[in-house]
Symmetry: C2
Subunit: 140 residues, 2 copies
DNA sequence: CTTGCTCCTCTAGTCGCTAGAGGAAGTAGG
DNA sequence: CCTACTTCCTCTAGCGACTAGAGGAGCAAG
């Protein structure tokens, strides 16, 4: 029940001090109460909330989604469809990014495979970059 | 041989006008010569150079790498080892990102699989986020 | 001459932090 | 009580690669 300082919160939630202040400013954490000397004080609920935020960030959720997830987590009687929807959207987003990266990977690999390690003059990598027609890339 | 305006360059290279100015400021494109009325003018070489930049960006190379690639492309007699090295580093970077995303994907998918579509109270997604111990995540 | 398009410069915003300046408050030891 | 050290405060600026917008000037066609 004893309040802790921002540095202690930082250690307990494994989130850096400036990041905590940043989350407060962005409204993910409530405005912390202050000591007489104007220092932020926190309690157990803040540790839990900040850990939640960190886990969500580690999983790649963005701030807006986390804000929504936190709101929903506070309403335990509601159906969890919205939580689900956010996670599903995030999954789709990850899949998109993987697909795009896999495409890039294939192209860069193809360039490297064709490079005969001669001079820049006949380097296929440079040629492909200079003339888009030569590569697989076809996105708009 | 007739000079073209920035809008025409934009169309021919498929790069937006503000982005062209941005590249100039960053030194990827040489400072364009100007008309009497202070408008930038370009020639065929600029179109080629800007296309090169666009292709490299589409493949995910970052500005610094592209700057190096452009420098190298102008020295055709040098061995292409450095070009190769840049591409190889980029490939490794892509692989890293794919691996990390694949990890995230698995975790988010696992959360979704466990969600029984009930109320937020018993939603596994919220639980996993709230208690890191429950998830696969183990980094750092 | 007027309409409408293109162009100019400059500033600020995106995302999620991170780094640093410059100063005040708290704590431990002598 | 004094000093040294750590922690904390606010504020500003930077990252990467643009994008958006303000406010104004040039230019071509009718």
């Amino acid at each position: 029940m004893k309040p802790i300082a921002i540095g202690e919160l930082s250690r307990q939630a494994a989130v850096k001090v400036p990041t905590i202040r940043f989350y407060e400013e962005r409204g993910l954490l409530p405005r912390a109460s202050r000591t007489e000397g104007n220092r932020r004080t926190y309690g157990a609920a803040d540790v839990r909330r900040l850990r939640f935020i960190r886990h969500a960030r580690e999983l790649g959720f963005e701030i807006e989604d986390i804000r929504a997830l936190l709101d929903l987590a506070e309403q335990p009687e509601r159906p969890c469809g919205e939580v689900d929807a956010i996670a599903r959207r995030h999954l789709a987003d990850i899949d998109d990014r993987i697909a795009r990266l896999a495409g890039l990977r294939a192209e860069v690999q193809a360039m490297l495979d064709e490079c005969s390690r001669g001079r820049v003059r006949e380097c296929r990598i440079v040629e492909v970059l200079a003339d888009h027609g030569e590569c697989l890339h076809e996105e708009h």
